[in-house]
Symmetry: C2
């Protein structure tokens, strides 16, 4: 399994459940956005077995902490995650309630001129809301 090493290297035991979730999340051509519930559905369908909801939460949070996933800052009742962990941004289609990736190259360079004493910039995320 190609994810065994990845997990081990980050100090996570390569359990059956984590490997299965890796398959669903990372064994794809394209990156994608998901909520915990969408992920649970996808696991059920793709792997044809059920992983406890608590485990899905645990795993997603563990992966996020290790930098394999990113949370997308958006106001929605459910939290959105992104398998694309490179620096990039998002459109949010208000009507369809859908997220669309926006590559760094689709956004001019962003220069934050204000500095906060003793703080470093960890990330810069742009959310572009779309309407009809």
């Amino acid at each position: 399994m190609k994810y065994v090493e990845k997990l081990r290297n980050s100090g996570l035991r390569p359990t059956k459940q984590r490997l299965q979730i890796c398959e669903v999340l990372f064994n794809t051509e394209k990156t994608f956005h998901f909520t915990i519930n969408e992920l649970e559905q996808k696991i059920k369908k793709q792997a044809n077995n059920k992983i406890s909801l608590a485990t899905v939460y645990n795993t997603v949070h563990a992966f996020e902490k290790k930098g394999y996933l990113k949370q997308i800052p958006i106001n929605s009742s459910e939290t959105y995650f992104d398998t694309n962990v490179t620096d990039h941004h998002h459109f949010y289609d208000l009507k369809e309630e859908k997220l669309i990736d926006l590559d760094n190259s689709d956004v001019g360079p962003i220069n934050i001129l204000k500095k906060i004493n003793g703080k470093k910039i960890k990330s810069v995320e742009v959310l572009v809301k779309l309407e009809d």
Copy 2:
């Protein structure tokens, strides 16, 4: 009362509760960020009486719909609102869990090059996460 007209003009009856919330939200030198619970506390203290939590929610949502408040897109257990409805951005201090305003002039001009068919850009919001 200076808020009676404002409310009437937007089709909201100027009720005692709404006027009181207007005082707390808008009768200040500076704009500010708040959660519903922080607002409830502020009302209790400033006006020395209690408005039902449901009414605070209703009112904040009504004001947001009318454009008197903005939701701040951020992943937090509570929803943050902003009395500053002009185009601007935010720092988010991850450690302190505090929001800090970032004027448009503190951010270089942002140019969204990608276009989505049939959609208009409603807003462009930048969230800059800070760490120590």
